[in-house]
């Protein structure tokens, strides 16, 4: 624990703000040398859901128990805090200190809304955006929260589709990329999918200052509308790559990983050997991009493997096996850390060779990891 250090950091940030110098911090700097990861998980012995801080050495620094299963975590730029959002239909979001694992705010959704599991901060860290469900009107929404005012809900705008899931800030500083999975659910029927016949997934760009939809990308063909666009990563050239989950049960193996670049605002499938695509079993878990090695990484817990593509050419690089592997976090420097539902954390180097492994017995690592110091 280094509570004292984090206090000093807070004091440092506060004094800069008092002098009106907050804006002098370079974008993305967090006024700290924080390294390691955040990971949601489940402790089998206490039967509790947690968010954990992992060190670069893959050891657990702290655990923060959560009131229900967590999903995606994000780190607030220029601060020492992070947020974890409950898995859909999410009824809480917890803001905590990255150094000490102490909860600072507990957010609950507005009436008639629930969270979808992911949030994203504006580049200056002042605003939090969260994907939400306006369930009685069957509309995906983006909730807007003031991180400087105790995460008060200050606005919302439509996500441009049904079932928004992951969202990410784009490098231009004012655009949000939102994956509209296309699947309609209602809290009265839990996680049941209500519109598989009519779903229309999309990747949408939204101007976070106005809520205006500036671009919309879709998948070509009727069958591809069954591919729920769920997770994504922003590539070095500013394009977005997405990983899909196939909702059809016809046995056809459609491509699952796409990137911007097709004609007519359609997404282009990235190549993948047929046998690996079969193993993906219609399901991508997490998507991550390592800027240093220009490698796109997509996990398939059902296939027990992670696939890699070089960018920007989209060339298939190969895969590594990872039983029940889902969470992916690029490592500052070069490699990647993968997490598994069996408690394993596996670090790979830039050439995707295993360099470190740590198995946390009695722990199940959940869908996502977040790097504190991105590559």
């Amino acid at each position: 624990m280094s509570g004292g250090i984090s206090l000093d950091r807070r004091a440092f940030g506060a004094s800069l703000l008092a002098l009106g110098l907050g804006a002098m911090l370079p974008i993305g700097a967090r006024a700290s040398s924080t390294s390691g990861f955040l990971a949601t998980g489940y402790d089998k012995l206490s039967a509790r859901h947690l968010i954990s801080r992992l060190g670069a050495d893959l050891d657990i620094r702290w655990d923060l128990p959560l009131r229900a299963r967590g999903h995606g975590a994000s780190v607030r730029p220029r601060s020492d805090e992070g947020i974890v959002i409950a898995r859909r239909p999410g009824t809480y979001a917890s803001v905590f200190g990255v150094e000490d694992g102490v909860q600072r705010h507990l957010m609950t959704p507005a009436p008639g809304r629930h969270f979808y599991g992911h949030g994203a901060y504006s580049a200056d860290g002042n605003i939090l955006f969260a994907t939400e469900n306006d369930f009685d009107n069957a509309r995906g929404m983006i909730g807007v929260y003031d991180a400087n005012a105790g995460y008060a809900r200050i606005s919302e705008f439509p996500s441009g589709g049904i079932g928004p899931h992951q969202l990410l800030p784009m490098p231009d500083g004012h655009t949000l990329a939102v994956a509209n999975g296309g699947i309609l659910t209602h809290p009265d029927t839990g996680r049941e999918k209500l519109n598989l016949d009519t779903m229309r997934p999309s990747l949408v760009f939204i101007d976070m200052r106005t809520g205006a939809i500036t671009e919309r990308f879709s998948l070509a063909g009727a069958r591809a509308q069954k591919l729920s666009i769920r997770h994504m990563a922003v590539l070095a050239d500013g394009r977005v790559a997405v990983g899909c989950q196939d909702q059809a049960a016809d046995g056809a193996a459609l491509p699952l990983v796409y990137a911007q670049g097709g004609a007519d605002k359609q997404l282009t499938a990235l190549p993948m050997p047929t046998d690996v695509l079969d193993k993906f079993n219609g399901y991508c878990g997490s998507v991550a991009f390592n800027a240093m090695t220009r490698t796109l990484c997509v996990s398939s817990p059902r296939g027990g493997l992670v696939g890699f593509w070089h960018q920007p050419d989209g060339q298939w690089l190969g895969h590594v096996d990872m039983t029940d592997g889902c969470g992916l976090a690029p490592v500052a420097g070069a490699g990647l850390v993968m997490s598994s539902g069996d408690g394993t954390l596996q670090a790979l180097d830039a050439a995707r060779r295993p360099v470190d492994v740590e198995r946390h017995a009695f722990r199940r690592w959940d869908n996502h990891m977040t790097a504190l110091d991105t590559a």
């Binding site: 012995l45 206490s46 859909r88 049960a249 046995g251 817990p301 869908n367």
Partner: protein, 338 residues
């Protein structure tokens, strides 16, 4: 896609297990509760009630009956009952931290010791008994009570040298807390959860986790790598570390038999699992109850590690066969991602 996954699972299973019809989860759950879970928690409630009664009795008549036999016997009976149910980790016991409140263990950093020393260094507050359920889990359950019942200092109504708390007041409050939690568990387990399939899946998970808990934390860890670490044994103060393991193996085997009831006796994997359980039971009986003493013997750590290995094999075999047979998936992300 789901259809394809299902086909793949069935094909894999066909090689190892007889093709099973979809299990009747509700019927299996009823058997599980009637034969296993409810009797275990009934017994725990009864034995912890007796423990509270004997602790109160001891403290009331201390001086006249200074020997600890009655209250220590009641502690052992209650611990026997808890060890039968220790591996159940989902459902009512997962509510309000009940599992950790009954037994905060393993405790590698000595948190119980630190909290107990602090507690005994100050006079007991007037509301101590009422406040205990909200205090640190480390002072609420069996490990805290064990320190008071198996101590060099007497369990007395008089303050002991160097302390300010009355040990009897603390012990009675802890025994009451243990009995209250056990009573709630008995009551809440009288009605099984409504989603039978999820409950069965969670129980299979508890079985596999329970086997790993015993083999890794109760056996492998105290056996140590370079040298034995006897203070990492469970309940070394009350000299029952290996008795716990014996009870655990029996309880885990009973649970396996309930869950695997529809597997034919002549199934080869099923027979292998039973043979391994036989071997584990023979080994633990030959090891006695005093783990600390055995770890001090030259071949002690080897015997700990050998039994740990047997239980690991059982765990792996059950994890490979039972979930498929019951049509449940132990995967976390692969099963139910988002």
């Amino acid at each position: 896609m789901r259809k394809r996954l299902f086909t793949a699972v069935v094909l894999t299973l066909a090689a190892t297990m007889p093709a099973a019809a979809a299990p009747d989860y509700a019927a299996l759950q009823t058997t599980l509760y009637e034969k296993y879970i409810q009797p275990d928690y009934d017994n725990l409630a009864q034995k912890t009630h007796a423990l509270e009664y004997k602790t109160v009795g001891h403290c009331k008549y201390v001086g006249e009956t200074p020997d600890m036999l009655a209250v220590r016997t009641a502690f052992h009976d209650a611990m026997d009952a808890w060890q039968m149910a220790q591996h159940i980790r989902h459902g009512a016991v997962a509510t309000d931290d009940r599992h950790a409140r009954l037994q905060f263990w393993p405790d590698k950093r000595g948190i119980t010791e630190r909290h107990m020393r602090k507690l005994l260094a100050e006079p007991v507050t007037a509301n101590f008994k009422d406040d205990l359920p909200r205090a640190s889990v480390a002072i609420q359950g069996f490990p805290a009570l064990e320190r008071l019942l198996f101590s060099d200092l007497p369990l007395s109504q008089h303050v002991q040298p160097g302390e300010k708390a009355v040990r009897c007041t603390v012990a009675v409050a802890i025994a009451h807390n243990i009995a209250s939690i056990a009573a709630a568990l008995k009551q809440e387990n009288a009605t099984p959860p409504t989603d039978a399939k999820t409950d069965i899946r969670d129980t299979v998970n508890d079985l596999v986790t329970g086997l790993e808990f015993v083999q890794s934390l109760k056996l492998k860890l105290p056996a140590g790598k370079a040298r034995p670490r006897p203070h990492l044994l469970e309940n070394w103060r009350s000299v029952r570390s290996l008795k716990n393991v014996e009870i655990n193996i029996r309880a885990l085997r009973d649970l396996y038999e309930v869950l695997a009831a529809s597997i034919p006796d002549d199934n080869p994997q099923h027979s292998l699992i039973r043979n391994q359980f036989d071997a584990a039971e023979d080994a633990i009986r030959a090891m006695g109850e005093n783990g600390k003493e055995l770890l001090g013997e030259e071949l002690g750590p080897v015997r700990f590690r050998a039994l740990s290995g047997t239980l690991e094999t059982i765990r792996d075999m059950i994890a490979e066969t039972l979930p498929g047979h019951l049509g449940v998936d132990l995967g976390f992300n692969s099963l139910d991602g988002d």
